[in-house]
């Protein structure tokens, strides 16, 4: 028996999106018949490791179901064996890798393990390795900690160390500055760190695309030979299935087919899972089809990753591409999507009227849908400012008298078609003939009335929309009104939460004015809550924010509703307009792109320093912020952190924004003490923040919460390195830079604690000053980050499609 035990990190969720809704990444199907974790467990068996602990996060039923007693890997032992150690404290949110705090919850396990050395390794690693060789190498180099690096210089997040050292980190988790072994390896001083180079095939899929790529690599004979060796076989749970069966019309090339599959169509360059049916005249190319899927006659599947039990109905086409795979959800039914009709009902939409980011998102989705072949419409109130500007374009379509409360109101529907998007405007003198969009005492009535009127006008059209997509609280009553109306019942609704802080709480009498009979508390009506309760599915603007909203800390009074609707809850990140970027920005000193960034950025920086009267010089580390100055944006930790880091005279800080007086006053006092290091531009002028994006070296967003966030995306596009808290969309758009592999586009910290922020600012400063090559690489990585609005639109379309069945 080995003097080694293994801690399997199944706690990260990666960015697999809908693939990990029902499972942790380790339980993802792979290579037609395996699950990712089979490789780790088989490696244990083949290395004579008999003590394995798995730390899962979230929905680990599928993982534990797959592992069973562990007998497939000889881990059903009397002494030692396999242990699944779930989180005890459900208030700990998800982290990138297994934290010492999580391990501390199961300290007993570590104390009880008798082996002297431990390997900590992720569950979603595909490789065939003898762990004894790792240990041997660790000992030969008398290392304190060894990390495995792949032939492509990717970090495998696999560590070898002594149990006593690990125990030291675990028991001191709340006093040491490292949350996990990756941070130890990156930051700890006075440690002998040894990278072990693993030269064989090795995949560490962390996204749907990487999972796809790793699968496709199995078609390469060389790779297969390295992963599936006679002397070290990969074991998996066996489910009984018949041999694969091929029909009269089967055409198959370059593919892997698991048992129980039935192929009567065309299959090329694909991986076909167990008990999957490819029917006659169906075509599957360059795709991964997991277990028990049905691809029905005359359908086409290309560049797709179909999760278990997906049905592609007859004649449906799912065609992705390498940039954007089609990814289905478990048990999804995919219909032919050509005639999908989507209507967004909204309070604002770019370019007609805009108060914030919502208008941009609605507008860009509407345009992208029509480009992607979806019938796209938008319905919104006709505000006077729209009528003034578009009076020559909009045409009257219909009039209606709408009853609301005891009164009847005349309303008029206008329409305008632009670039194949149908925009509808509803005019009502009583409710919308006002200068502003929001901020009136009767906002509840205004949007309740609008919701009713909008749905009443649907009768004007030949076909009802398939999907109505509503945003934030304003249209929260739409799903309820649809439910109450027999005629509209076929319509599916999606409600997107952009910010859960604004819920639209109004008088309960609105129910009566709408004529809706409602049991329960009539005193108040919470528009957002009604929407969340009644929409077919709900979503929010990033995967991480979606996870966070499961905790009361983030979702407050709506935590129960959110958790009840968990299975219908999705996270889709917003895109950034292609028009934003330093290449077209006429307001900055010198335009730039990847070709000339290293020449142009210093010029923009000195322009910034000059404009803001800071000491000039390229060796200063300029940190910028463009923000509302409010609690949410992290000012409670930012200000103490600033006090500390500004002791370093090489650090400069620029902020543009407006907001809470108390924070502004504190900022001013900091400025007084560091006049050449700090520049304030208070009074938010949103049209001119570009000089900061272009001139700063780093961009700070220590937000307490951030549903999606736009500024960090803009900063990345400008090659300005974000330092962010690991929350919401910040977590999904910023990848921590990794000095070993030179990947990553920014810096992240987890705890809402100023010391952690200080640590990352100083870390960034160190790389900026001492590792200039790394900094340049990070700028390249940042500018290459991808936030396409089309990706976001495609993700919504996939979600709409999954709602239709």
């Amino acid at each position: 028996m080995a003097n080694l035990f293994l801690v399997c990190d199944a706690s990260n969720i990666g960015s697999f999106n809908r693939l990990t809704r029902h499972r942790v990444p380790g339980a993802l199907p792979f290579g037609a018949k395996y699950r990712l974790i089979d490789f780790t467990l088989s490696n244990c068996k083949n290395s004579n490791i008999t003590n394995v602990a798995i730390f899962p996060y979230g929905n680990y039923r599928s993982l534990s179901d797959h592992i069973g007693s562990g007998d497939r890997w000889d881990l059903n032992r009397r002494k030692d064996g396999i242990f699944i150690l779930p989180p005890k404290n459900l208030n700990l949110s998800i982290e990138d890798s297994l934290s010492f705090q999580r391990m501390y919850e199961h300290l007993e396990y570590f104390n009880r393990s008798t082996q002297e050395y431990v390997i900590v390794s992720p569950a979603n690693l595909v490789w065939n390795v003898d762990y004894q060789v790792l240990l041997h190498d660790h000992l030969v180099h008398s290392a304190d900690i060894t990390e495995v690096v792949s032939a492509e210089h990717k970090r495998m997040r696999t560590y070898v160390l002594s149990k006593s050292r690990l125990l030291e980190y675990i028991t001191n988790y709340d006093t040491i500055p490292y949350r996990n072994l990756t941070e130890v390896f990156d930051y700890a001083q006075n440690l002998k760190k040894h990278p072990y180079h693993f030269e064989q095939a090795c995949f560490f899929p962390n996204s749907a695309f990487e999972l796809y790529q790793a699968n496709m690599q199995l078609l390469n004979q060389e790779i297969r030979a390295q992963l599936f060796r006679k002397d070290r076989p990969i074991f998996s749970k066996e489910t009984m299935s018949a041999p694969s069966r091929y029909g009269d019309d089967a055409k198959i090339k370059n593919s892997i087919v698991a048992s129980g599959a039935v192929v009567d169509g065309t299959v090329i360059n694909s991986i076909i899972g167990r008990k999957t049916f490819i029917h006659k005249d169906a075509v599957v190319k360059n795709s991964i089809v997991m277990n028990q899927c049905h691809v029905e006659p005359d359908s086409i599947v290309e560049y797709a990753l179909l999760d278990k039990e997906t049905r592609i109905l007859a004649k449906a086409k799912v065609i992705g591409n390498l940039d954007q795979l089609f990814v289905s959800e478990k048990k999804q039914i995919v219909i032919s999507g050509e005639d999908l009709k989507v209507l967004q009902i909204t309070a604002e939409c770019n370019p007609f009227v805009k108060t914030g980011g919502l208008a941009d998102i609605v507008g860009s989705l509407a345009e992208n849908y029509s480009e992607l072949g979806v019938s796209s419409s938008v319905m919104m109130p006709l505000y006077p400012r729209i009528k003034d500007k578009y009076k020559l374009f909009i045409e009257i379509r219909a009039d209606q008298i709408i009853a609301y409360g005891d009164d009847k109101y005349k309303t008029t529907l206008y329409s305008y078609n632009n670039q194949n998007v149908n925009y509808y405007f509803i005019e009502s003198y009583d409710f919308f003939d006002r200068d502003d969009i929001y901020g009136y005492e009767d906002d509840g009535d205004r949007f309740a009335f609008f919701s009713k009127a909008a749905l009443a006008f649907l009768d004007v059209f030949d076909d009802l929309p398939d999907i109505i997509h509503i945003h934030d609280w304003h249209m929260g009553l739409v799903p309820l009104i649809i439910k109450e109306n027999e005629h509209l019942k076929s319509i599916r609704t999606l409600m997107t939460i952009h910010n859960i802080e604004y819920q639209g709480v109004h008088e309960g009498t609105i129910y009566d004015r709408l004529g809706i009979h409602h049991n329960g508390n009539h005193h108040r009506i919470n528009f957002m809550e009604v929407g969340l309760n009644n929409a077919t599915k709900i979503s929010t603007v990033s995967e991480t924010y979606k996870e966070e909203l499961k905790y009361e800390y983030y979702s407050k009074n709506l935590v129960e509703v959110i958790n009840r609707r968990d299975r219908d809850f999705y996270g889709i990140i917003n895109g950034l307009s292609d028009d934003i970027g330093p290449n077209r920005d006429l307001t900055i000193k010198e335009k730039y792109n990847l070709m000339n960034v290293f020449g142009a950025k210093p010029k923009n920086k000195s322009d910034l320093q000059k404009r803001m009267s800071l000491s000039e010089g390229n060796d200063y580390f300029v940190i910028g912020m463009v923000t509302r100055i409010v609690e949410q944006k992290g000012f409670d930790i930012l200000l103490p952190a600033l006090e500390q880091v500004l002791a370093n005279e090489k650090i400069q800080f620029v902020i543009l924004g407006a907001g809470d007086e108390r924070y502004v006053r504190w900022l001013e006092s900091i400025k007084q003490r560091h006049p050449t290091q700090v520049a304030l531009n208070i009074g938010y002028d949103a049209t001119e923040p570009s000089y900061i994006y272009a001139g700063a070296d780093a961009f700070l967003m220590p937000s307490r919460y951030e549903p999606c966030g736009t500024s960090q995306m803009i900063a990345l596009k400008y090659g300005t390195i974000p330092i962010v808290r690991q929350t919401g969309g910040l977590n999904d758009t910023v990848d921590a830079f990794d000095g070993i592999t030179k990947r990553g586009n920014g810096f992240k910290f987890f705890n809402y604690d100023y010391r952690d922020l200080v640590f990352q600012i100083e870390n960034a400063f160190k790389i900026f000053t001492d590792a200039k090559e790394d900094w340049r690489q990070m700028i390249i990585n940042a500018m290459n980050s991808r936030f396409w609005q089309k990706d976001s639109a495609n993700a919504y379309i996939d979600l709409y499609r999954s709602m239709l069945t």
């Binding site: 018949k33 599936f228 299935s241 069966r245 009269d248 019309d249 089967a250 087919v257 039935v262 299959v267």
Partner: protein, 376 residues
């Protein structure tokens, strides 16, 4: 531990009519349907019928079979108070008790039945392909108040002389039985599946000596002694695989019927087999595969038509396999052409080897040169 019913599987026969296929293996361990062994069907039926005590009576080449079955975990038969027991010939004071005939084996191990104080004994055969719920036989037995129930199925009249032929009255009671009649006048054939009241079986066995066989001795004696014998008629697919031809035919039945024994329907009484832990099979760029079944671990770069390809088989490019049964572990080299053959396990078919047979033949490493032309 008291059990109402125990099952005993007879696997004793040498299976000499399967020629080289049974050279190193007992008949029930013969491969079938690309990934199965014959015994899988009977063991799966037992598991699906919720019977948890099984005696496997074996004497010929038991090693392969025993190591295949192991503790029976693949069929959920690794049970604390029961499960699978191997009843092999043993040496006693009277010398090695080599079993004489099918029923004699049961007689030797009657204490196995007593150990579980079973009231009923189900006698099965280990080399048949079918899916049956034995609980239905049990119910039939009880509702007919029978002392012996014989399972029977309709066979083509041309084949009837290979079986014990049965006639029944309107209430499913047996009226006549003739073992392998030269001129059969009925086509209801005994499947070699019997359900006995334990005391009746014990009495029938104790009255006989020397060669004892169910078809030749026990059943005729039960009729003669006027025991109440009922017949359970089974109407689904059933194949007794005793010859090269019937083994081939059963494979073709499986290939031609997409719903063969509902094997591809996951929820319907699964047929279990032992996991071999093989990777999925791989189809390469030059391959053409139609009308065929292929098991795990195979790599196909040639042309496969209307054939069964056992696990871990390699078919190289340019090779053509048609209307054939390839047992596991075979390599078919470049340019080889095969038709109407069964290729025995682990046979290496050399490059450009040609065997296009009119009637079904078995190819084995020992007869490669006799059966085909070697152009390699």
């Amino acid at each position: 531990m008291k059990k109402a019913l125990v099952a005993m599987i007879l696997v004793g026969g040498q299976g000499s009519r399967l020629k080289e296929i049974t050279r190193d293996t007992a008949k029930p361990a013969v491969s079938f349907g690309a990934k199965y062994r014959l015994i899988d069907f009977t063991l799966s039926n037992i598991a699906n019928s919720k019977i948890d005590v099984v005696g496997v009576v074996t004497q010929y080449e038991p090693y392969d079979l025993m190591s295949y079955i192991g503790a029976g975990a693949s069929w959920d038969l690794d049970i604390v108070d029961g499960g699978i027991s191997f009843l092999t010939p043993f040496s006693s004071q009277g010398g090695i008790t080599w079993q004489k005939g099918t029923a004699d084996a049961i007689k030797q191990y009657f204490r196995f039945v007593r150990e579980f104080s079973a009231d009923y004994v189900l006698i099965l055969s280990g080399d048949q392909i079918y899916k049956m719920d034995y609980q239905k036989v049990f119910e039939h037995h009880l509702t007919h108040n029978a002392q012996l129930t014989i399972c029977a199925t309709r066979v083509p009249e041309s084949e009837a002389s290979r079986f014990g032929i049965i006639e029944v009255d309107d209430s499913d009671y047996l009226t006549s039985f003739e073992e392998k009649p030269e001129k059969p006048n009925a086509n209801l054939a005994s499947m070699g599946i019997y359900l006995f009241n334990t005391d009746v079986l014990e009495r029938l066995l104790s009255d006989t000596e020397t060669e004892v066989d169910f078809g030749n001795n026990i059943i005729p004696k039960a009729i003669k002694d006027k025991y109440c014998v009922s017949v359970y008629e089974f109407n689904d697919y059933w194949k007794d695989v005793g010859t090269i031809d019937s083994l081939y035919q059963a494979h073709m039945d499986m290939i031609d019927d997409p719903d063969f024994l509902t094997l591809n329907v996951s929820s319907n009484l699964p047929v279990y087999s032992k996991s071999l832990n093989l990777p999925p099979h791989l189809i390469l760029a030059n391959a053409k595969v139609t009308d065929s079944i292929i098991a795990d671990g195979s790599i196909i770069d040639g042309e496969i038509r209307h054939s069964s390809i056992g696990y871990e088989t390699i078919v190289e490019s340019g090779a053509i396999v048609e209307d054939s049964v390839i047992l596991p572990g075979v390599k078919i080299s470049k340019g080889a052409k095969l038709r109407n053959v069964i290729v025995n396990r682990n046979t290496l078919i050399p490059e450009k080897y040609i065997c296009l047979s009119e009637k079904v033949i078995l190819i084995d490493r020992t007869n490669l040169d006799v059966k085909g032309e070697n152009h390699g």
